[in-house]
Subunit: 206 residues, 2 copies
Amino acid sequence: MKIQIALDRVDLEKAESIAEEAEDYVDIIEVGTSLIKDYGKKSVSFIRERFKNRTVLADVKTCDEGEYEFRAMFEAGADIATVMGNSPIETIEICYNVSREYNKDIMIDLMETSKNKLAELKKFDDAIFFVHLPKDNKHVNLIDNFNKNSDLYRGIKRIAVGGNVREDILKDIVLINPEILVVGSAITKSSDIKLAARRFKELLQK
Amino acid sequence: MKIQIALDRVDLEKAESIAEEAEDYVDIIEVGTSLIKDYGKKSVSFIRERFKNRTVLADVKTCDEGEYEFRAMFEAGADIATVMGNSPIETIEICYNVSREYNKDIMIDLMETSKNKLAELKKFDDAIFFVHLPKDNKHVNLIDNFNKNSDLYRGIKRIAVGGNVREDILKDIVLINPEILVVGSAITKSSDIKLAARRFKELLQK
């Protein structure tokens, strides 16, 4: 399982220092939506240049204008870019095609995506599907939510999970065994970021 | 009816020059999603500073983290910020509350928003509801689409419409009579931006 660390709601210098501390224990560095909306695509190229040996994900949350946004993110150095699963199917199709053209990855964020839409999206069978709890809803438990809907995810080859991920749910995450686990503040807001990242890696390897 | 000009897929200097040419004939200057994702929130403050007498809309298309994004846009000088209608209801509620706190406006983008969700959203009765055709779907006609769903929009006080708006549909737009008409490339890509903006204004006043 790969660990993706989400950098959000900090300035670029702080994002860099967080990523430096966590770097040895994570596989993917996520340039969070807040960094992109605060600084634009230079946030992606900034992280790309500083972490050449890590996969960089641009959480651009495309809703429309798929071609323009996905090209911008890949040109800025992203290896993976995100599109909202509840966007128009045409947008997702365009993002998928741009990702194929660049030989990069697309992550489809399933937040608020209907069952019917998910069924339609499964045709993008090498896309990464992100089972994602919104930050703005604290009342849903990631594991319960995943297990309740696990039938829907059947047949998906590449799964990422995330949203309020804490150490205490890692034993359940191991059972789900996604390709990618997205972790945010449990690492980035820790008083010892390096230690927190190492613990996550160790607990997932057990 | 107010005209909102959407600035998209250009650099900041070009955005400024387009807005300068159109300024006398438009009411709202939209800092498009592409400007925000290319340049970050400084695109909003840049347009704010240069067009002090115009309403500035930040098309931030918030999907999550409503508080952070809406505060960022209003602090950057936006008068209106956008949230996706298909976002978690908690996100839209938060965005609404932040807009009230700042005494600014919220625009809820109804792209890919279900009928049930729209019914739920009507409680935000002083929000602006944006009936919006995606740029990535060229097969749907704005007027047909609006008229087909007009029952759904009943009771909404503030309506904006947009998406592939061209001169030839203005006579139908006049019948719909939204508070705001959002126009993009029909003005911004015109060989004579000033003339195009003036024609839109004149045709809508007839």
